[in-house]
């Protein structure tokens, strides 16, 4: 049987054997190039392994990609809501309605006194005549106003408080309320605060959701890598027997995790951009009703670039957890 083999297939005589003198050199001297070779080997062997099963790989990456896209979409939504509400947040004015009997000079005196305060940035005086003109121009009740026999509007002061902490009510409000000349102090802080709180809550919710979904992707990678470890138990056993370090055994699995992370990050971006694209027309129509004062804010380029990076780190972490647990489990010393 052996003898019938072609020449090159036959056992060679002893002289061809490796010489004792040139026996294995010390392995400590791992040159940089061979370290790079080892990593490239793991990088591409893990990639090849993933691409050999394209459907299974795509499915796993898609699950992870959707899990990552969801919080991204919420973040974009929140970002836009914040931008929309930004215009209203600036409305810090306090509107002070003076009692009907208060005349122009008293109004001017009060305005002057208010201007002298440190916590007041500006005071705008509005006489009843100016008030009715504004009302006429803005409300479309011009005809109705004609019927009025006298001007019912009081003197009004619009006080802009100096920039203070967002949530605190300016002290000047309480003082104005006590002033006998003042009829009504209108400060629209409550709804602004409520809106701010809602946005804050939404942001926190999205962050919590993002955390949970990141954990889910971690588990998806971890589980996939665990199955991979089980499927390759024999291979792992063999390379451990021929002297592979734990790092060498772990490396292809870590790269597998990184690849899954990268793929899913790119898929998440595809999903996000697709959703943005799909919603563009109705959103444009909605924004048109705002006189185009607002623009839809999409994912910023830098944030978009960081998505595959973050997901790759997640993949690496998931694979790390799986290998730490299952490689040790598979081969106790």
């Amino acid at each position: 049987m052996f003898g019938n083999k072609p020449g090159g297939n036959r056992l060679k005589p002893a002289p061809a054997a490796p010489r004792a003198a040139e026996r294995a050199p010390p392995r400590r001297r791992l040159a940089l190039s061979s370290w790079r070779d080892q990593h490239l080997y793991s990088l591409f062997s893990s990639l090849g392994r993933l691409l050999a099963r394209p459907w299974a790989t795509a499915l796993t990456a898609l699950v992870m990609g959707l899990a990552l896209a969801l919080p991204l979409l919420f973040l974009i939504l929140l970002d836009n809501a914040r931008a929309l509400s930004g215009g209203w947040q600036d409305a810090r004015e306090i509107t002070v309605f003076l009692k009907p009997g208060v005349d122009a000079s008293a109004s001017a005196a009060l305005a002057q006194a208010l201007r002298g305060r440190a916590d007041v940035a500006a005071v705008k005086q509005t006489t009843p005549e100016q008030g009715i003109e504004e009302f006429r121009a803005m409300s479309g009740f011009a005809d109705a106003l004609e019927v009025l026999q006298f001007n019912p509007l009081p003197h009004v002061l619009v006080v802009t408080p100096a920039a203070a902490r967002e949530l605190d009510e300016p002290a000047v409000i309480a003082e104005l309320r006590r002033d006998p000349q003042v009829d009504l102090v209108q400060y629209d802080a409550a709804w602004r605060r409520r809106l701010g709180a809602i946005l804050g809550l939404s942001q926190r919710s999205v962050l919590v959701l993002a955390g949970l979904l990141a954990m889910a992707t971690l588990l998806v990678v971890g589980n996939t890598v665990r199955l991979d470890i089980q499927a390759r138990a024999e291979e792992i056993a063999v390379i451990q027997l021929i002297g592979a370090s734990p790092g060498f055994v772990r490396r292809p699995f870590l790269y597998t995790g990184v690849w899954y992370g990268l793929f899913s990050g790119v898929l998440a971006l595809v999903v996000v951009f697709s959703v943005q694209w799909a919603l563009r027309t109705p959103v444009d129509q909605l924004l048109a009703s705002y006189d185009h004062r607002f623009h839809l804010r999409g994912l910023e380029p830098l944030a978009a670039l960081s998505v595959p990076f973050v997901s790759a780190v997640l993949g690496w972490l998931g694979a790390m957890l799986a290998t730490a647990r299952h490689l040790a489990e598979a081969h106790p010393d």
């Binding site: 054997a17 291979e235 056993a237 021929i242 370090s245």
Partner: protein, 224 residues
């Protein structure tokens, strides 16, 4: 150099595979371990590669006592030992070349050096022309020779083989054993476990005969 000193190995099941076994194999010496199945041949080899640890006694390889060897140093020890298995344990999803190259990749050699050494090892076992083949397409004897090429490609100082001819016909077995003898010729310490006593005797090397984990006979060529 391999040295066993009063080595006992008892498995958790209670089975005592080795019982106070002592022997010494000089550097560059070749020996066979033989005995009935379950006599402790495989266990003896496993202790050398630290696949198992002894319950009592000490094993040293190349002057290094394995008792104190930390777990993280085990890979380093194994890189200095070539192991051949009865079922060869090749990675079936890789080519012959890739299988043989594996120990060198693990050791971190440069690519050109790996290519050179893999070809030399495959040439040595007569399979140079099959380097691109998948192991599954080779005959059992050829697969075993790939396993041997993988064991010797990193030029280990110790070569151990567990029933390397267990699945082969007598003529192939003879060829494989000659191959091991060749490695001894170049200074490798070789220890081969085999139950094929006639074959072992024909080789004219030292023979350790195990029986129920004890050393029954230590036969040396030239009347020992």
């Amino acid at each position: 150099m391999i040295r066993f000193d009063q080595v006992t190995k008892r498995y958790p099941s209670g089975h005592e595979a080795l019982d106070e076994l002592s022997f010494e194999l000089a550097a560059g010496e070749m020996a066979f371990v033989t005995g009935h199945s379950g006599a402790g041949k495989s266990t003896l080899l496993k202790l050398i590669g630290l696949i198992e640890r002894p319950t009592r006694g000490s094993v040293s390889v190349n002057g290094q006592n394995l008792h104190g060897l930390r777990r993280r140093r085990i890979p380093e020890l194994r890189r200095g030992i070539g192991m051949v298995f009865q079922d060869h344990r090749l990675l079936m999803d890789r080519s012959v070349y890739d299988n043989v190259a594996l120990p060198l990749i693990i050791a971190g050699l440069a690519r050109e050096e790996i290519a050179k050494r893999v070809r030399a090892a495959l040439d040595k076992v007569g399979l140079l022309e099959r380097e691109r083949s998948a192991p599954i397409t080779l005959s059992t004897g050829e697969q075993q020779r790939v396993g041997i090429a993988r064991a010797i490609v990193a030029k280990p100082s110790v070569l151990i083989a567990d029933e390397p001819t267990g699945n082969l016909d007598p003529q192939l077995s003879n060829e494989i054993m000659r191959l091991f003898a060749d490695f001894q010729q170049v200074g490798t310490t070789v220890l081969v476990a085999s139950h094929d006593l006639p074959l072992v005797k024909r080789m004219g090397k030292r023979v350790l005969v195990l029986d129920h984990g004890r050393l029954l006979d230590d036969w040396r060529p030239g009347g020992g």
